[in-house]
Symmetry: C2
């Protein structure tokens, strides 16, 4: 079943210990779409500027990603400049130019309205809520957020959480959102705000899936590893690629069983592990489904007793 | 097969967000022995003072741990005071009184000499090397160390590493020992110093097993999770308990297959997860084998796809 995703399509300038790249195609919706496109049909809602041309369009087309919801506006694309020189786990932002994103008002093509899966990538929670309300027929809604919205836009964010089935965030964001340093207690507090499934990403240590208990019993958890890598070229987009693999796989399944969620966690980790191997979306662009399934088996080998 | 362990038997005074305990039985050899005793016979080499009485002796006896190698010296036991108020992952040491440990010279009872497994718990690497040399007939030697020895006693530590089959350390220690922030590269560098198997413990995120490649192919890795806990009462001894579960299980196996190492990683995580549930060795003292195997199954459930 198809996924509609709303989020940023952007240009990034990135410096890491492995080198630097200027003005490479990025943005949460781009990473998410590319990662999810290996599993299901993806439709994007975003805004780009006049510096988004046929070459970039082609990246989406090659992966059969529907771009009819990408609005072309006057001006330039959202631009982010950052580095990971001291710490590969946390980006240092040097500059953020919102450009066409400053006045972004998502427009949902009619052709997208039968999507059964909706992903609200990390953007202003007011826009996330707007898109969620505009697509009442979806079967499953997942979303992401970040420290900025948690700290300074909590009321709007709470309205988003209230409409989410699944939230995907990292350790720091989970602790900040719940105001609790213990991740299990934090997970419980966050699920009380709306999402019945919570994925907390631990960077190089993998990710944990928490299923909210709806029947008074203890909640269930599942841990997926990350692949031990001897070089992380560029961590940008790892979380969005995880989300794309996770949600893309779920959308491809006939039934959302606990087993499907477990495998989705592995596919999320797999897509994150590919994303960081090269700068920007380079690795995701060059990827094939057999490579993905090969790495899925590596993850099984890495964690399974038998 | 039986394990001989050399290390500290001590009294700890511990403060954590869950409360405080004064003068509770601790020390690396104590945690290790208790954890390993659920899997195999354990023999301890250590030194205690006059404040180690029948009550403490009884803790070892109850678990059928051979204490003939525990020397009783004039003076007081090794004492450690520490807290984890700001960070459960790192102890803040308030005081260390070596007491009888200051002049510790390990004495190996003849009855221990047929041990096939040797564990060198975290003590002065000069003593670790001495015990290792005094037991040339052992089949498998594992050991632990800490930042203090890595930073200030490197030449002595390198002589220990050279005689180890398995080293168990945490992330920070691995990065410090190798001088490399990337754990995969650090693992490779450390295994070049001697150990052909390396276990790096990630605290609440589990642990990774690295098998050194002896045939030129890529080294193999295995990741065990930690149990997501909603309260860590006292992290003291978690690493030693992991080592006890890991090495104890290996010693109980007829063949050291890759599968045995994988299950050993799970049993290590299981014992670590129990250790932190109460202060000091309280939880390990009260534990039963069915509880251990029950939690082993929880770990399988937590990580396995099927």
């Amino acid at each position: 079943m198809s996924i509609t995703v709303v989020g940023s399509v952007a240009y990034d300038s990135i410096e890491t210990p492995a080198g630097r790249r200027d003005h490479c195609l990025g943005g949460a919706a781009t990473y998410f779409s590319l990662a999810a496109s290996f599993f299901t049909d993806v439709r994007v809602i975003a805004v780009v500027g006049e510096d988004f041309g046929p070459e970039q369009e082609c990246v989406f087309e090659t992966h059969h990603i529907d771009t009819r919801g990408i609005e072309h506006a006057e001006g330039k694309c959202f631009c982010w400049q950052g580095s990971y020189l001291e710490n590969l786990n946390e980006a240092k932002t040097h500059s953020t130019e919102l450009n066409v994103f400053a006045s972004f008002q998502p427009k949902i093509p009619d052709a997208y309205r039968d999507s059964q899966f909706l992903f609200l990538a990390n953007i202003d929670p007011v826009l996330q809520r707007y898109v969620r309300d505009a697509m009442p027929g979806v079967k499953l809604v997942a979303g992401d957020t970040m420290n900025f919205w948690i700290e300074d836009h909590r009321p709007a964010l709470l309205r988003v959480l209230n409409g989410l089935d699944i939230l995907l965030i990292n350790d720091t964001e989970a602790r900040m959102l719940a105001g609790d340093g213990n991740l299990v207690r934090a997970a419980r507090a966050i699920m009380a705000l709306g999402p019945r499934v919570l994925v907390i990403k631990h960077g190089e240590y993998g990710a944990t899936l928490f299923f909210g208990a709806t029947d008074g019993t203890a909640s269930k958890t599942f841990r997926a590893p990350a692949l031990p890598l001897d070089e992380v070229v560029d961590p940008t987009g790892a979380g969005d690629s995880f989300a794309g693999g996770f949600f893309g796989y779920l959308a491809s399944q006939p039934h959302l069983t606990p087993g499907a969620f477990r495998r989705a966690m592995f596919y999320g980790s797999v897509m994150g592990s590919f994303a960081v191997e090269r700068f920007g979306t380079e690795r995701l662009q060059a990827l094939s489904r057999p490579e993905i399934d090969g790495r899925f088996n590596e993850f099984r080998e890495l964690t399974h007793l038998d």
